[in-house]
Subunit: 392 residues, 2 copies
Amino acid sequence: MTCMVCELTVIFSVSAGMGTRLLHRTIRKNYFLRHPLPKPTQKQCMLHRTFPKPISNLSCEALVYRRHGAFSDVLHLEEVPLFYNGREDIYIRMLAAPVNPADINMLHGNYGITPCFPAIGGNEGVGEVIKVGCNVNSVKPGDWVIPTDSGFGTWTTHAVCQAHQVTSIPNNISLISAATVSVNPCTAYRMLMDFVTLNPGDTVIQNGANSTVGQAVIQICSSMGINTINVIRDRPNVNALIEKLRSLGATYVITEETLQKQEMADIFKVVERPKLALNCVGGRSAGDLFTHLMDGSTMVTYGGMSRKPTPVPAKAVIFRNIKLYGFWMTQWKKDNLHDVAKIKGMLSDLIEMVRKGHLLEPACTQIPFKEYETAFHDSLNPCGSKNILIME
Amino acid sequence: MTCMVCELTVIFSVSAGMGTRLLHRTIRKNYFLRHPLPKPTQKQCMLHRTFPKPISNLSCEALVYRRHGAFSDVLHLEEVPLFYNGREDIYIRMLAAPVNPADINMLHGNYGITPCFPAIGGNEGVGEVIKVGCNVNSVKPGDWVIPTDSGFGTWTTHAVCQAHQVTSIPNNISLISAATVSVNPCTAYRMLMDFVTLNPGDTVIQNGANSTVGQAVIQICSSMGINTINVIRDRPNVNALIEKLRSLGATYVITEETLQKQEMADIFKVVERPKLALNCVGGRSAGDLFTHLMDGSTMVTYGGMSRKPTPVPAKAVIFRNIKLYGFWMTQWKKDNLHDVAKIKGMLSDLIEMVRKGHLLEPACTQIPFKEYETAFHDSLNPCGSKNILIME
């Protein structure tokens, strides 16, 4: 048969579960893969949500790219066929999907995973289940679902996928919260949970504190009674940003320059030195953190906005036993794809915080899906807010 | 009573074990402490090996310093009294003690531990037990012993200490091997054992490979069937050094410049990429290693000879999951002081390698103790060999 998306003639016989994995191993090149490959850090492709012998033919409108490049050159709104077999798969109407920096990096081919082409863009979003196959019992029509793994291709009006590829979430939170819960808040949550044991009264320091992850860190820490020292770049109207972050629960908000000043000693008269540093900037901004960390502490790097390496002093790691790790939510998802309880537990905790008003939806601009070009133009503005494509 | 070393009048009542520790907590300032303090990274002092009510008065000649500075300004050969109570303590004749870079840094006050003054220099060495107190059964006269912990003060002709402060080793290895086994070979051993699981056929990469630790790494890896890629600085007669390291069992010896060349790809056609990097240099030399490491690998820093921080790229830690740790043998000893089996097991493994000829004694110059000034002058020469003070 001819694959309608890959535009390649392929012959296969596939059933759900193991069959899909077998297919990927044998004729991987023709497909968008989503399963973890044997080496987890190997570049991965997205699963082509196409199945043989469709019971009903459907289609969607999706933002498709066939090569890496600037969105204006490579991204096009296209009609893409969908095949719903009525057995193991789920037919979804997408509701909203953000344009995250990682999506843009992936478009540019500058990310840890790359799709096989042609690819549908977008890794995050929320959809409503329309129909489920007769063998599906994990979700039902009307449920809200989010992609379980990265590389789903969320910039689309509709999607067909298998049950394990989505996780249902309650639909009594805002659409924006639902559409943005699975990348940035999950990144913040995991970094706070998985590297050191944090107790009320402990301190976390982070740079790039006004990033969406940074804001989630502030709020999650605040709800746990953990102090945060939040480092931001100096800028016009810095006081407004300081005020905003403090309103989210930040204990201290300081500029990068303050890291080298006496004020830091005053802070540590009030709160403990940090046992965890979260770094999304690199360069000197990260290097200056070492001075202030508790001996035996941990730095987790999850971004490199300055595009400069973090200068790690030998004394910090040797005599002060500071440990350095990286964190990448995409990899975490690959590593925990089959630990449904762990994924659901994390989402449940975060959604509970959303419900209680402890984790606010990020400031964002909602843009109708058809006007996607506006969203992408806006995303080039480093000071712009997050853009969310709304499919409704 | 008056402490003959501290030259301070102190009043105390002390018995072995807990008493000693109590003493340190209460009048710490007057004493050389050797016990771990509550926070393991806190700067620590050496135990003053002085006890009240001596049964017999002894003395030694020791290299004493009363403030930090260059050895020529601060280090003096002095007669120091020793008190042997004939119950819990051990009277030792020192045989040999090296002048290690860490000793020099400690003299300069540029190390992770500092002594309380006046201090006897030297952290490593071997001695012969002359007499033991009636309550000591872990060692006997004639045994060779090495300090269990750092900060022993080995630059002395004799010493009196408690049983837990020394570990006995077989005396059928060379004096030089015995005097130098407890710092550099132990550092190499622990870094190879404690951070990743290495199997025959795996690869370790290290810079500063001609350091004494580096040479121990080469030999231990060689005896375990582990490949080593050994990075050295270019220098006159580099080929002679390459040949020397290869004769120790190095799989590859390359200069720092080679790290950026095509030759590296050729190496990885033959051996696996490294799952462990050992870094004692920092700066670009360390930064260039990241390119060649296996995804998920570990870098352990145990020195910073370039005095430059290691530039850690965000992508290496985020997308390639490379982890960074430090290692400091002094801290390991503090942390494992009471795990006698672990310490003895490590020494037993290393001494077995020495016996089999798999771990050679380091190239060194033996200098009579009284001519210590020559040893210290030599130690200023960065290309000079290791100097060992011989007390016999």
